[in-house]
Subunit: 339 residues, 2 copies
């Protein structure tokens, strides 16, 4: 099962039976609006705080996944998830409603693939019949906590990114039709000494490159194995930095097979600076748009590399640079189960 | 592997090859001082902030476990861990130093057993040769974040608990001598509507009871199977509440085989109110004192039920009650490996 240093190859290849994706008003005006199961017209979603709206996003994504998978909530044995809010309370409170045994994760914007990797590990080990895993973020709740309340109208530099309001969840099963999780690479904490919290993409790029290169080495393949390698939320700046690093290391990767979720979700003209970010970003783009493309036969082999900046306002204030991480999960259209 | 609804039975029974436990000055004066590998004389541990001292606790616990297990850090494939600080930055920054691929967890004070359950799942699925899992807390860092800086000298009610300054880590291996992880039960989020953040034990007791009863039902055993069932940090009040719940449910459990880590770590006379708490509490008591008792042959079958209160200062301010959780892991002295 362990392959190389830090990669798991899943013999049983768990199936992503169904997914649920929920977005906010900014996402409804975005490039991928048609790939969402549910889009909300305003950021409050009828709740009395942004954090409670955040909780609801995750609840709804899980409910949509169960509904589309034809499962009642009693049939889901575990939920793995997390978010960026202090003590991941939106996810925990959503799981209070959802009722299944709950495994709380923190990987910042890498949470989507941290959860999918661990979820696939549990499925592979026959630790569940069905489980849900997902991640979410809410623009106004995250901005308030990490920077300033959006009501202040604070200015941002062009290196900054726009936190996605959205949640994506995947329902994993041992059997069934759908894309399968074939392997996962857990990333190391990489910190190149950057400390500007308005340039997360630049800080996270080396972590993405390290995880992709480790993944290819561990599996004994090159980048051309995949139809698409997609990073979580490097944004335009981080994406460019990562391409330069691949070039510097002599790792062949084609620009047309290497994309970033943070550059895909919004339309040109939406004021998102360097691109999108937030745990919800890769979760909604992968569990919505990209899996739809796989189901249409446009992609057969996908590597998702969710990137996370593991800082807090406090570590920044205490002069720490930004520790970053990236976890990679391969999702493939394969007919046959392995062993 | 899945047994019943929410329990994993580990066929390969991963071994706890070695552990590392580190404590602060209050723990050095406590009941279990002799069971620590390392005790610090002051809360700063030579660092310029309590959060940086907190990070160091976790680093040292992992280093001690590797040293005692005779492993170099390159041999450890994964680290699973978490803490209570916003965005679990002490654990993430420790993993920057330690260097192994890192899986960040958030389960509040249940993190120790969340990590041991997932770590054992990974070992059981042959996903690693060696991995580290642990949890930590720092009294002054946690008090500052959740309540008031300790320098304010704020008063506390007798229902409150004292956050442990300490870290405990376990080194898991597929082969070797030592206590073995035989099963794990993942808990649900339980919220009985209590909202007093100075009475966590009372809030967490129903979660502990739910997980213990689920564990016994899933494994088809009764409480007498274990020499000791130990909760994480219910404290005196939560412990009493949980005993009443067992009685009410008709679940037979003997008082002399049912203890709480939060009532074991300090001496009578230390001003800890209802007892100890914090992710470090169950981590140091189990990975220090209780495993030492197992190695001396005093205990053969141990069930650890780490309890967590998944609130934040913000959820409290927004009028939410306290969502709680408990994860249970059984550790047994068994000679033979299963299948």
């Amino acid at each position: 099962m362990l392959k190389g240093h830090q990669t798991w190859e899943f013999d049983r290849k768990p199936v992503i039976l169904a997914t649920g994706t929920v977005g906010g008003p900014f996402e409804a005006n975005g490039e991928l609006a048609e790939d969402f199961d549910l889009l909300h017209e305003d950021l409050w979603i009828g709740q009395e705080s942004y954090e409670k709206a955040h909780r609801l996003l995750f609840e709804e994504a899980c409910q949509k996944a169960m509904e589309k998978g034809g499962l009642r909530k009693e049939q889901v044995q575990f939920i793995l998830g997390g978010d960026l809010i202090n003590q991941i309370t939106p996810t925990s409170l959503a799981c209070r409603t959802l009722g299944a045994p709950y495994i709380g994760l923190f990987g910042a914007c890498s949470t989507s693939m941290e959860g999918l990797a661990l979820g696939a590990m549990i499925m592979n080990g026959r630790g569940a019949d069905y489980l849900l895993t997902g991640a979410s973020s809410h623009n106004a709740a995250v901005e308030k906590q990490f920077r300033y309340p959006t009501e202040y109208g604070g200015q941002k530099p062009p290196t900054s990114q726009w936190t996605v309001t959205g949640a994506g969840a995947a329902l994993l099963a041992g059997e069934g039709d759908g894309p399968r999780v074939t392997s996962a690479t857990i990333g190391r904490v990489i910190d190149m000494g950057l400390s500007d919290p308005f340039n997360m993409g630049g800080a996270m790029a080396p972590a993405a490159v390290e995880t992709i290169e480790s993944h290819l080495r561990d599996r004994g393949i090159d980048a051309s194995y995949y139809d698409l390698i997609v990073t979580g939320d490097l944004g335009e700046i981080g994406h460019t930095v990562s391409l330069r690093l691949f070039e510097k290391h002599g790792t062949p990767i084609q620009e047309n097979q290497y994309k970033d979720c943070g550059m895909m979700i919004y339309r040109k003209g939406q004021p998102v600076f360097s691109g999108a970010s937030g745990p919800g970003c890769s979760a909604v783009v992968v569990y919505g748009h990209l899996l739809n493309r796989m189901k249409r036969g446009e992609l057969k082999r996908l590597l998702v590399v969710a990137t996370g900046a593991l800082l807090s306002p406090l570590t920044y204030q205490q002069g720490e640079s930004i520790p970053c991480i990236a976890h990679a999960v391969s999702i493939e259209m394969v007919k046959e189960r392995g062993s």
